[in-house]
């Protein structure tokens, strides 16, 4: 029972899978489920402990700041839980969805992604962060190109190109940090960052914003995202939207709050968030492919999260985390539903979805449900997080972002509802009723139920958000726990 399991077990599974693949194809499919189930159990059982007092795990016996540590605090506890649970649901969905060979590679890469993401969330060492980043990225590149018949390779190449930039800049930043203060432990860096000259610090900040901003889909850096989202298999889209981006944003915010927590930086984040949000939503408006539309919507939601983080008050951070949670769930649901819709309509185009509401009533229902939820309508969970974001942003006196967020919400509503309309009302009678596999339905059903329950009892989640937000904002505590247990 240690946070190390979060990294070790999936990593082990990832390498085990190809071997098992030689023996049994079916086992390959099941193992990730078992692993994720175990991780979910682990995360839930560790959760109360981590929230009360951060668990700092020392790897390889070196004490911090020299050794690599895992920092399992409230926010990490929350994010690992989110990642493992969403991961489990995604696995459930993939179980019948990924029917194309080589499945063992898919699950291997999927496990790698989980490893990388949990690693990013857990690690207390900046270079380790980089490594996990790269693990995630490489797995993500490969998964993007998983489907051979599509333009996956092109999307993956773009992703790789930009991703390499990200890693380069991030590594550069690490190099500069190390050159100046000779430490790689995040807590240690946080306590010593003031020793670096201002100009250098600015440079580091910029490099980190660029490096991690690329993965967090900040506006001018997110050219890869729509392609990757739309070309990857649907569950992978859900992984990107639900897991990878969350981890990236977490790392960006963690570094910024630890090292560069000033009003100007936060303002910059708000501005970037607003720009990201608006441009993404506007671009989504006229998309012709449903998954591309979802991708842009995803970028927009990330913009929203960045805004909320950028406000930097406790309620706003809390709201941002809540939004991350909701987005992970709802966007996964949307990707799942869209996956089967695209699969059955035989085309990625939105216009091909006409009348699928009659052919595939349940899947379409889930899509419509997700659409209403992501627009932020009550009584779905999306409503509360959006409301909290708005309240906290306004509380900080930023009325302009409030208005812009709401405008973007209207745009969002327009394009989502157009799709919903098409599903149900553009063709009247059912032509050919086809069934979605049970595992997919169960996955979507779980998400739907969670969304509804959280919508009615937001306290279930919100309750845990306050320590998480404090964890992120409280630099001193992080340094204290990170360095001296």
């Amino acid at each position: 029972m240690s946070p190390v399991h979060f990294i070790a077990v999936p990593l082990f599974a990832a390498f085990l899978i190809p071997l098992i693949g030689k023996v049994s194809k079916e086992l390959v499919k099941i193992i990730p489920g078992i692993v994720l189930l175990y991780l979910s159990y682990l995360s839930i059982s560790l959760f109360p402990i981590g929230v009360n007092r951060p668990i700092v795990e020392i790897i390889a016996g070196f004490n911090p700041p020299f050794g690599i540590t895992l920092y399992y605090g409230p926010i990490a506890a929350f994010l690992t839980t989110l990642i493992t649970l969403v991961g489990f649901v995604i696995w459930l969905y993939s179980y019948k969805f990924i029917i194309r060979e080589p499945t063992e590679k898919y699950y291997m890469l999927f496990m790698m992604l989980i490893t990388g993401s949990t690693g990013i969330v857990l690690t207390g060492d900046i270079f380790n962060l980089f490594v996990f980043f790269e693990i995630t990225s490489i797995a993500a590149y490969s998964l993007t190109a998983f489907l051979r018949d599509r333009d996956g390779a092109e999307a993956a190449f773009k992703y790789l190109l930009i991703g390499s930039f990200a890693s380069t800049f991030f590594l550069l930043a690490i190099a500069i940090i190390y050159a100046n203060i000779h430490t790689l432990n995040l807590a240690d860096i946080a306590s010593k960052i003031k020793d670096i000259p201002l100009t250098t610090r600015l440079f580091i900040l910029i490099l980190i914003i660029i490096g991690l901003g690329i993965e967090s889909e900040m506006f001018p850096l997110n050219g890869w995202a729509p392609d990757a989202y739309s070309q990857a298999p649907s569950p992978v889209g859900a992984v990107f939207g639900g897991i990878v981006v969350k981890a990236a944003i977490y790392s960006l915010m963690r570094i910024i709050f630890l090292m560069f927590h000033t009003a100007d930086v936060l303002h910059f984040l708000v501005v970037m968030g607003v720009i990201t949000l608006l441009i993404a939503e506007m671009s989504a408006m006229k998309q012709q492919q449903i998954k591309r539309m979802l991708a842009f919507s995803s970028i927009g939601q990330m913009g929203l999260v960045i805004i909320a983080f950028g406000v930097g008050t406790e309620p706003s951070v809390r709201a941002a985390m809540f939004q991350m949670f909701n987005h992970a769930l709802i966007k996964s649901l949307l990707f799942f539903a869209a996956g089967y819709l695209v699969f059955h309509s035989g085309s990625k185009k939105i216009s091909a979805l006409d009348g699928l509401g009659h052919d595939k009533p349940i899947t379409s229902f889930f899509f419509a449900f997700g659409a209403l939820a992501i627009i932020g309508l009550p009584p779905f969970s999306g409503f509360w997080s959006k409301l909290y974001i708005l309240l906290s942003v306004a509380d900080a006196g930023l009325m302009v972002p409030v208005v812009l967020i709401l405008i973007s919400s209207i745009i969002e509503a327009v394009y989502y509802l157009r799709v919903v309309s098409r599903l149900y009302f553009y063709k009247e009678e059912a032509t050919d009723v086809r069934r979605t596999p049970v595992s997919g339905l169960v996955a979507m059903g779980i998400l739907t139920v969670v969304i509804l329950i959280v919508g009615f009892y937001p306290n279930l989640i919100l309750h845990w958000m306050t320590p998480a937000a404090n964890d992120l904002l409280d630099k001193a505590a992080y340094i204290k726990f990170g360095l001296f247990h």
Binding site: F127, V131, E134, S137, I138, Y141, S142, A145, R148, D151, A153, E154, A155, A156, F157, K158, L160, L161, G163, S164, F165, S167, T168, L171, L172, I174, A175, Y178, A179, H182, L184, P226, D227, S230, Q231, S283
Partner: protein
């Protein structure tokens, strides 16, 4: 100092290749050059002139006489990662070439807008 300058030069050259060259392979080469530049930089950070290996092989050896071992470890990791990325990139290029019959990045833009 020369290491720093060299590494920055390498990064810039790589950048140039990535941003200007149209051939996918050249772009990947550019990426590798950038990577190498950074690696060089990392090494340079840990380099101590006339320093020794960071092993207490001789008595009385002060830590400040040793070369910093951490960057070397980092570089090793980074090189491995770079290799992996390059491998993935090249495999992708093969796939792209199968698909598009060209290596010109300007012609590989089916996904847009």
């Amino acid at each position: 100092m020369i290491y720093y300058i060299t590494s920055i030069l390498l990064v810039l050259i790589g950048m140039y290749a990535v941003l200007v060259k149209k051939n996918l392979i050249k772009i990947v080469i550019g990426l590798s050059i950038v990577d190498n530049g950074i690696h060089l930089l990392l090494i340079a950070i840990g380099y101590v002139k006339n320093g020794t290996a960071p092993i207490f092989s001789k008595a009385g050896l002060q830590p400040n006489q040793m070369v910093d071992p951490v960057p070397q470890a980092l570089v090793l990791t980074a090189i491995v990662i770079g290799l992996a990325v390059t491998a993935v990139a090249l495999s992708l290029i093969i796939r792209l070439y199968d698909h598009h019959k060209t290596l010109n990045i300007n012609k590989i833009r089916k996904l847009k807008w």
